[in-house]
Amino acid sequence: MKRLLGVTLGILTAIGGFVDIGDIVANSEIGARFGTALFWVLPVGVIGICVYAEMCGRVAAHAGRPVFDLVRERLGPRVGLANLSGSYLVTLMTLAAEIGGVALAVQLLSGIDYVLWVPAVAVALWLGLWRLRFETLERLFGLTGLALVVLLVALIAGDTPWSQLAGQALDPVPTEGEDWNSYWYFAIALFASAMTPYEVFFFSSGGVEEHWTRKDLLLARANAFIGFPLGGLLAFGFMGTAAVFFYPNGISVSTLGQAVLPAGLVLGKIGLACAILGVFAATFGAAVETGLSSGYTVAQYFGWGWGKYVPPRRAARFHTVVLLSILASVALLLTMIDPIQLTEYTLILSAVVLPLTYLPILVVANDRDYLGDRVNGKLANFFGMVYLVVIVVAAVAAIPLMIVTGGGQ
């Protein structure tokens, strides 16, 4: 029984965590505008999240400390507080984008405008977090999220010009009519969608709460190294189909309806229904994770009780933060901001916050006081350092690129 749960947690963290509204939007838009010229960013992002998830899994298992607890410890209260506000804001915006994504998916199934669904989705999410056992949520959305494979099936089943796609992927330069500014803007958005901070909060907090032993750690590491690439492949489904259907017609993608359209064109009604269901499950699963992560960041910074297995009575402050975060997300969505546009801005802001999240993890993963002989080896440090430099460069370039490209217009 424990093994199945472990594997399911891995799958959910990969699918729910990896494929969320950020990946769906980033991959569809980039596939439509750049074909597969930005494909290389996906494996780079996947390797990055695997490297850092492994590190913070090890810290969770051996030192029993989650990410945000370390952030305050290593950066001190003041810098830690700045880090907390930045990460919490991004997690809150991601939560709003995920709830918006779920509402958009339900709109495609019901034809009723998504704004009417936002409060209903928020109530369902809060009830799920409040009453349902975490494993039930996990299984429900982890496995349903696999329905997104239908986009890969559409790619394989349709007459896809594979050689053309491969050729473009091996020629990573701005496509006709695009300049280097927008190329790098979308590269950072795609990279941030793969390395979103809340995935790491959720992964490390899960490890601490479930008291991962060395055996659990092996399982978690396997899940990360299997689950995240699996999630990356599903996300590529959106890029590939957009590159085949929208890119040649010069049509850019700006709605969820467009993103799932190829599944309908190749596989008809069933394909479309599967794709929409997959989006619903992936975004709802991600909403569960971001909802919990919004509580984790604040509770771990202040040292309160927290956790998905702790009954609300015994972690009043944690559950209040989760409740307030969901309410704040609904308020943000009711300002009629387009969830797809909100997702794009959230990706860029999370790129800015990434260094503050990953730097403490890399430092603590090298500290013998915490990990004894389990500190980073040469390989983990090499990748950790390389990615830290990439993350800092992306963080510095994110906002200027957003201004120069006018938000990627």
Binding site: M1, K2, L5, A63, G64, R65, D69, R72, E73, G76, P77, R78, G80, L81, W130, R131, L132, R133, F134, F302, G303, W304, G305, W306, Y309, P311, P312, R313, A316, R317, H319, T320, L323, D369, Y370
Partner: protein, 130 residues
């Protein structure tokens, strides 16, 4: 045993004897003992202490708010005498259970006024955890 107060104790998570979170080491109290040597006497926990150490306008306002919210006597932060500490490490572990300690007001207030009002608050979702 050599300990760096700032690094090894300050801002560390405090766990009680059963591993339940108590709070963070928001500050450390030092006092000159009879032998005339300055030594650690207690760990201090609470938003008021954290606010003052944070400093700046934000810190002071938080400290002020926390002070006003306090109704327990004696006033002041939660004070954990150092001899209640069993060991320091990645986290500071106490020798006693947190039920013996004073519960932070915010936790009590939110439980009584918000959480308990909602059905299912005390249901332990993990009751039949496999």
């Amino acid at each position: 045993m050599r300990v760096f107060l700032g690094f090894d104790l300050l801002d560390r998570q405090i766990l009680d004897s059963e591993g339940l979170p108590v709070g963070n080491v928001d500050d450390i109290e030092l006092a000159v003992g009879e032998d005339g040597v300055l030594s650690v006497t207690a760990l201090l926990v609470g938003a008021q202490v954290w606010g003052t150490r944070l400093g700046g306008r934000l810190g002071d306002t938080i400290a002020g708010m926390a002070a006003r919210m306090q109704r327990r006597t004696p006033a002041g932060p939660i004070r954990i005498p150092i001899d209640q500490v069993r060991e320091t490490g990645a986290a500071v572990t106490l020798a006693i259970s947190r039920d013996l300690l004073v519960e932070p007001e915010l936790e009590t207030w939110l439980r009584e006024h918000v959480i308990v009002r909602i059905p299912g608050a005390s249901a332990d979702p993990e009751a039949d955890k496999s």
